[in-house]
Assembly symmetry: D2
Homo-oligomer: 349 residues x 4
C-alpha cells in the first residue's frame, strides 16, 4: 500500500500516518519529494484498511498495490488449473490444454426439445450439455423455467447422450436440489454479487461456473470467485459473457481482453459465452471463433432445434446450419493453437 | 409493437408475420414504404414475445412500444405515491410533498457508536435512521456486519431516538428476521437482480427501499420493483445511488437525471444516496443539495461520529461539521421548492 | 511516481530501475515489503515517462501521483478564478461568487427567431446569449448552420439586447472570423480532443468555453484546458454537458459530481449545460436547479420561441413557460447558496 | 419512421401529426391499438426530421427505422468493398478476401529506428507500414512527433522496404502535406467527430483509415465515414481500436463484436488495432489472433525494436519475439478461415 500525502501536508500529518501504521504492527517508509511525500506501507494490508487512512488530515490518496484475492490468484499457485466436470470415468476437462464446447438450449422446455438439442450439440463436438431449469428473468411476466421437472429432463438427457450437464442456480435455497442433478453449477451474471449464493455453491461439493457480472471489473469477478473458494471449493470455471456499454446493436459487448488478462492473474480456467453477449445469432459463430483464438479454455453457446419456437432467447440460438459452421471452427482452431478439443477423458479410470 | 421488415423482405415474409400474429389473436397493420415495410401489432404484447418474430425470415427489427412494467407505472396510477414508514402514530412519509432525510452509519458497530450517530442525524433533521447489520461486501475478508446483534442495537436506538429504521437484507433466508426489527427493508444495489430476494421482501409485509443496480437501466430498475409489487407489496421507495462509468475520481457517477425521469414514468417515490455514489466526503453535501433541487423525495447519507474509526466506508461518512452544513440545506431548500422536510406525522392517529 | 515491482522481481531488476531514474537526474526510494518492493521516484516526472519503466523486467505497475496539468491546477493557484466575458464596462462574470445564466437557441436561424429568443432569455435573467452559426452535426445531411451570416445576426442581437455572445467554433481555420464576432468561443464536446483547435483558440485573444467530451475523464478534460492555457490564454470556462452511458432514456447522463470535483482540483470556473445532456425538455429545469444547487458557476440552456419549428434540437429547447419556471430558480437558488446571479458588472469602469 | 402516440393522445393529436407529414409530401399510416396509437411514416425521412414530431402534443416517441447513412451502407451496395493502398503495380488490398497486417512504430523517431521496425514488420508478413509524424497527445507536454521530417523518413523507409505507408493526420490544415507522403491517411479516434478534418481527407485523393472514437456507437462511426464519402472518397477502411469502459486493467476494451456487426451493415472493410486498445504488450498477440478469427480484414500493431526506448506507447509495442509469435498466427489463421494474407498485388499491372 502506498499513501500519497497532499501538497500541503505537514510533517505532523506524515508522522500521524506513520504512527498509526506502526501501531498496527506495520512498517512505513517515507519518501519526500519536492511537492509531495509518499509513504510505502509494509505488513498486513487487510489490517491497514481499518485505519481509514484516506480520512486522515493531509492524506490525498491511498493506492493498493497487491491483489485483494488470494486463493484464486496465480501468485501462490502459478500453474493454471484444470477443472474436471462429471462422474469419475467420463469427466470432461476445462483447462489450459483443451478448449471445451458447452452447448444446449437456453431453457429446458420439454424432453423432446432437450434431446434433439443435445444430439445436435454432441454432433458439433460439445463435451458438456447446458439447459436452464430455474431461469433468472428481467421480467416477472417472462417464462421462469420448468424447475424441478426441468432438472430431471436435463439430467436424463445428459445421461442418455453421455454429456455431463450444467445448469443455473438462482437462489441459495435451491442449491441442494440443483446439486443433485447438475454436474456443474452455474451462477449467473446478475447473481455474481449475491454473496449468500456464492457461499452456498462453495459448500455444495460441485464445480461452479461463475459468470462475470455485466458491469463487473475483473477484480470484482475474481473477488466473487474468492467467496466460493473461501468455502473450500476451488473447482471454479470463470465465464466471460459480455459487459454493458453504450452500444445498442448487440445486447452486451463481449470483452475478449478479459480472457488473457484474467488468465495472467488467476489460475482458474476461463470460458466465453458469445450467445448471451451478442443476443443475435449472426454474431455468435464469429465471436466463438474469436474466443477460441484469444485462448479461452472453452466456449458455451445456445442451441435450439427450432429457434423460432424457443421460450427464451430464440434470436440468439444457433440452429443446425450455424452449429455445423461452429463445429468446423471447434475442430480446426484449437489444434492450430496447440490445444485439443475438450471431451470426456479417455484415460483408464 | 412494431415489426420492421428488411429491405429485401418478400410479400410472403410479410404475410407470414401477419399470419402468426393473427393466430395469436392479435391484429397486424401493414404500412408499405418505398424501401421498407413496417407492421404495427395490436393485442397481447406478452404473447407476441413468444412468437420470436426476430427469428423470422425478412424481419429486420422488432420495437417494443409500451412499458413492460404495469403495477409500478403511472399509466394506470397517475398520481405519485407516498410510502409511510414506521409504526402507526409516528410514521414518516416519503412522497411528493416532502423531502425526507435518512441518515446513519454505514454499519452498526456498537451501541455507543449507533446512539451517537443517531443523535447527530436527528439534530440534522433526519426522519429515518439507517445502519447496516448484514453487510454485502466485495471482499470475503471485509467486515461483514454484526448480524442479529446489529439489528437489535439498531431497533433499540431507533426506538430511543424516535426514528423508524432502515437496514439492508442481503439474503432471502434472512428476510423474516430482518423484518422483525426493521421498518424499511433495503435491497442493495448488487442485489437488484436477485429475484428470489425481491420476491421474499415483496411478501414480508414491510415497505421496501430498492436501490438501483450500478449498471441498471431505468427500465430494469422498474422491472425489479415490479417483482416486489407482483407479490402484493406496493410500498416501494426507489433509491438512486450512482452508476458505474469510466470516471475514477469518484466511486460511482450519481445519475440525477434518473430522478425526474423515473418520477415521470412511475408513481413510486425516489430518494438519492450521494454517499455511496461519491465514496468521498467532500462531494456528499453538494450532491445532497443537488438531489433536493432536482426533486428527489428524500436523501440518504452516511454519518459517523468518528469517520477515521469507521469499520466500513469511513472516507464517505459525514462528520458533525459536514452534517450541520447538510442540515442547513435540508431546512432551506425543500421550502424554496414547495415541499416540507419529511418528519413523523403529526396528524392525530 | 511509484514503481511497483512484481512478486518475482530480483534485486537486479530493482537496481536497474534505480539506475535509470538516477541517470535521468531523479531520486529513487526503495521500500521492500514481504512479497513486493515499491520504489518512490522524486524529480522530473515528465522525464520519467520517457524511461518506459513499465517495459522493464520485474516491473508490475507504475502509478502516477501528481496531476499532469499545471497551469489550470489549483496547486499553484489556490484561489478559484473568475472569467469576465464581453467588452469593458459591461462584462459578465463567471466565477465563484456568481451563478450566470447563458441562454439562447441551439442554432441561429433568422434575425427574428434570434431576437425573440434573446428577449426571452434576457427576461429570464440570462447574462450571456448563445447561438450556433457553425454547427457540428453527426450527420452530413443535417442543418450545418448559417455560417458567417449567423455570426452577424448573433452579434447584432447580442448588441441590441445588451448581452455578450457565445458561439461554437468547429474548425481551427474559422477561429479568426468567429473571434471577430463572439465574446466567448465555445469548443464543443466532440472537439475536446482536437488539439489543433484548442491551440488556435488559445491564441485568439478571447475567453474560451470548453465542453467536456462525452466520454472524457476529468483529467483528460483538464488536459484539454491545459492545451489552451499553454498558448497563453487562462480565460477558460469549463462546461459539463453529460457523459455517455448505457442509459437510453436521455441523450447523455449529466455528471454533476464533476462540478465540485473539478472545482476542488482546478481554479477554472465550471458551468453546466443540462439541455444537451438531457435532450428532452422535461428534464432541463430540474437539472438546471440541481446544477445551481451543486455549486455550478453558471448554467447554459437551449431556448426557442417555437420549439416545434427549430432547425436543431427542438425537443430539448425551453419554451416560454418552462423558461419562466427556470427564471424563478435562477432568482431564488443562488442567494440561498450565498451567490448572486451573474449579470453585467455594475462597478464603475 | 414510426411515431408512437402517448396513451392519452387525442384524435386531434393524431390528426395533427398526419397533417404535418402530409404537408411535407409524406404518407402516414395510422394503427390504433387498445392503449396506444402508432403512425407509420413513408416518404422523405430527412424532411420528417425538420417536423420536430417529438415536440408535438400527444407524441410519446419517434423511432427511426432505416439507417441514416447511405453511401457506406450495404443497402444499395451489397458486395463488400476492397480498398487498394499504394502506387499502381504494388498495391496492397484490404478487403473480404485478404487479412492484411499493418505494422510499425507508434511514432517515427529516427531513420534507424524506422528502418529496423520496418524490416521486423516486413519479416512478420506486414503489407503496410505505419508510423506517426503528427502525434495527437492527451498532454501538451508529451512528444508531439517529428512532423514533416517524420513524414520524409516514413516515406523513404516505406519505399526502401517495399511497403505503402499509413500515418495520422490530426489537423485539416495538414492534409495536403501528409497526402504527399502517405499512401493511406489515418484519422485518429479522438478526431472521429472532427467534421472539418473528415471533409478534408474526403477531398485529398488518398484512401482513408478511419478509427472508431473511443465512445462512438457503430452508427456514429459510419456517419463519420459518410462525411468522408460525401466528398467523393469511398476508399475508406474502418479501424476498431477499443472503446472506453469501466475496466482499468487495459487501456480500452476491444470490441470485436463490432467487426461482424459493421460488416453486416456497411460494405467498407474493417481492420482492428489491438495495440492501442490494450495498451499492454502481453494482450496484443492473443487479441490479434482473435481479430483474425472474428473476420477482420486486417490487423494493425505497434512494433518497436527497443520498446523500452520508445518515445510513445512503449509498453504496448511488440518486440522481435512477440512479433514472431504474431507472424505465425498471420500465416496460419487466415487460410484456416478461407482468406489469404494481404500483400502487394502480384497481378500484371
Amino acid at each position: 500500500m502506498v499513501v500519497v500525502m497532499a501538497p500541503g501536508a505537514t510533517d505532523e500529518d506524515v508522522a500521524n500516518v506513520v504512527a498509526r501504521v506502526e501501531a498496527m504492527g506495520g512498517e512505513a517508509f517515507v519518501s519526500k519529494g519536492l511537492s509531495r511525500t509518499i509513504i510505502g506501507l509494509v505488513g498486513d494490508v487487510a489490517a491497514f484498511h481499518h485505519l481509514n487512512l484516506r480520512t486522515l488530515r493531509g492524506v490525498a490518496d491511498v493506492h493498493r498495490i497487491s491483489d485483494p484475492y488470494k486463493l484464486v490468484s496465480r501468485q501462490h499457485h502459478a500453474e493454471r488449473s484444470t477443472v474436471r466436470i462429471g462422474p469419475a470415468g467420463r469427466q470432461v476437462p476445462i483447462g489450459p490444454e483443451t478448449c471445451t464446447l458447452i452447448a444446449g438450449p437456453c431453457a429446458v422446455e420439454s424432453r423432446e426439445q432437450m434431446l434433439e438439442a443435445a444430439q445436435m450439440s454432441r454432433s458439433a463436438g460439445a463435451g458438456l450439455l447446458r439447459g436452464g431449469a430455474f431461469m433468472p428473468r428481467t421480467s416477472p411476466y417472462a417464462f421462469q423455467g420448468l424447475g424441478l421437472k426441468g432438472l430431471e429432463i436435463l439430467a436424463d438427457v445428459g445421461e442418455a447422450t453421455g454429456m455431463p450437464v450444467v445448469t443455473e442456480v438462482v437462489d441459495a435455497r435451491d442449491v441442494g436440489v440443483v446439486a443433485e442433478y447438475a454436474d456443474l453449477l452455474q451462477v449467473g451474471a446478475r447473481n455474481m454479487g449475491n454473496t449468500g449464493l456464492l457461499q452456498a455453491v462453495g459448500e455444495a461439493g460441485r464445480p461452479v461456473l461463475l459468470k462475470r457480472g455485466p458491469s463487473a471489473t475483473l477484480e470484482e469477478w475474481l473477488m466473487a470467485a474468492e467467496y466460493v473458494a473461501q468455502r473450500g471449493n476451488l473447482d471454479i470455471v470463470l465465464c466471460e459473457r459480455g459487459i454493458r456499454t453504450f452500444e445498442t446493436s448487440y445486447r452486451n459487448t463481449l470483452d475478449l481482453s478479459a480472457v488473457p488478462a484474467v488468465q495472467a492473474t488467476s489460475h482458474l480456467p476461463v470460458v466465453v459465452d458469445p450467445s448471451h453477449a451478442a443476443g443475435r445469432q449472426d454474431l455468435v459463430v464469429p465471436l466463438a471463433r474469436a474466443s477460441i483464438a484469444v485462448g479461452a479454455d472453452g466456449v458455451m453457446v445456445d442451441v435450439h432445434p427450432f429457434p423460432d419456437q424457443a421460450l427464451c432467447d430464440g434470436p440468439q440460438a444457433l440452429d443446425g446450419t450455424a452449429l455445423r459452421e461452429l463445429a468446423t471452427a471447434v475442430r480446426r482452431l484449437p489444434p492450430a493453437l496447440g490445444r485439443r478439443t475438450g471431451a470426456p477423458d479417455r484415460s483408464p479410470a
